[in-house]
Symmetry: C2
Subunit: 265 residues, 2 copies
């Protein structure tokens, strides 16, 4: 099954555009065992999400042990829920192929995030996995996104718009999506208009301060789908106590339902 179909089916089944970011910070966890924490979060929210998104940085920071936790976390996922490996990799051809092998063959992610700075041949090895999804960084959620992504070229086009345009050209296998930060609603609106059929992965609500109403309104496609709205800290750390899984469930349900109200479901 293609990634986009798996995403849409999970989203329909769970009536959800919510993606939980599994970014465990050992300093903030209510229990010591990170894998057990992840499993409890997954078990408590699996009927409320359209996807999960572990960011590899948090696992790499735990060293080799962290990579074991990551692999076991992905293995614990319910089969029908797509898992997006947020890796933001970008390297030259043969090296990109090694990263694709790691992320798709070893960790078994359904989709990944990649960085466009090195151009097409750095993304092609990922695209060649036709049943997997590839979210290209377009307009990121951080403050310094403006440093380069807003640079206007001599055709009057902003850099992130060029990336969105190229992504459309490269989408021969219909497996490309874009990463767009919720913290920049105008840019999100512009990108959705440029790419009406692409899935958008949208981090930046919650801790980062993105407006949920505008995020949903501008992020969804004509069918009120294909926006993958990420919440991490807001769900993971909803409670600092032993009831963290139930609290995460409540936070996830609230978010899912708010998103659905906004999209008129």
């Amino acid at each position: 099954m293609k990634f986009i179909d798996k995403l849409l089916i999970a989203g329909k089944k769970n009536k959800s555009l919510l993606c939980v970011g599994l970014d465990p910070d050992p300093q903030r966890l209510p229990i010591k065992d990170v894998l057990d924490f992840n499993k409890q979060i997954i078990d408590a929210t699996a009927d409320l999400v359209c996807a999960y998104k572990p960011n590899l940085a948090f696992y790499e920071a735990m060293g080799v042990k962290g990579m074991q936790i990551l692999k076991k976390t992905v293995a614990h996922m319910p089969r029908e829920i797509p898992v997006i490996g947020d890796a933001k990799r970008g390297d030259i051809g043969n090296t990109a192929a090694a990263y694709a092998k790691a992320l798709f063959d070893y960790y078994k992610f359904d989709a990944v995030t990649v960085n466009p700075y090195l151009g097409y041949d750095s993304i092609e090895p990922f695209l060649n996995y036709k049943t997997r999804g590839v979210f290209i960084l377009c307009r990121t959620s951080n403050k310094s996104a403006v440093d380069f992504q807003d640079t206007v070229d001599n055709f009057g086009m902003k850099f992130y718009e060029s990336v969105a345009l190229k992504a459309g050209e490269w989408n021969n296998h219909d497996n490309i999506g874009l990463v767009v930060g919720a913290t920049y609603p105008d840019e999100l609106k512009a990108i959705r208009e440029m790419c009406p059929r692409m899935p958008l992965l949208i981090p930046g609500i919650g801790a980062q301060g993105g407006d949920l109403e505008l995020t949903v309104k501008y992020g969804i496609d004509a069918n009120k789908e294909k926006a993958v709205i990420v919440a991490a800290r807001q769900v993971l750390y909803a409670s600092k106590d032993q009831d963290f899984a139930q609290a995460a469930r409540r936070a996830a349900m609230e978010l899912r339902d708010s998103i659905n109200r906004i999209r008129g479901l």
Copy 2:
């Protein structure tokens, strides 16, 4: 000791601008044990290089076991030789901090490569490790580098030139370098002129076809230093047989000496 000093001291001691890229591909190795292969390559070349550069992709492709090999490979390095973790990471602030922790605290790299697409706050957590080096991707060696890096902005400046310029502005701790591909000598020349004192990490000779003479000529600074010229496949796979370590030594020595002849040493 600051990274740049460690780099210069190693380069002077070994009379070398050569950096061996430790990118083991299990399919191409003459022996089965990847760690043993790395150790033999290091032992055979440690007096001929100014640095080593493992690219994380090749270790990640081997899964958790690969990350153990990476950690043990770094631990095996002679103390006086700087090790550059070629990771090309780029993520938002708190996530970038987790990557910096992984690369600097856990794997103990002396320097890393990072991607500029997300702007300053994605690089700052790395820069805050003042004694470590941070090589920012500027003009990469691959064919598709032109896709975005050559885009001309409305001030007439190419994107990679903006990156070089910003890198200069951000260099408060004097720990920034740039990655520039040997396959684009004109761009290398332009970047060296813009950044006369920055170390340049230059992959792309050998298998990728970059011209050694122009690379050295345009890459070095006024003191004929601060060019870190990378060779990987050319050294690692100099022989497919059991004499691979001696063959790697011969290939590394030849390259080092060619570089020195060109820079007039």
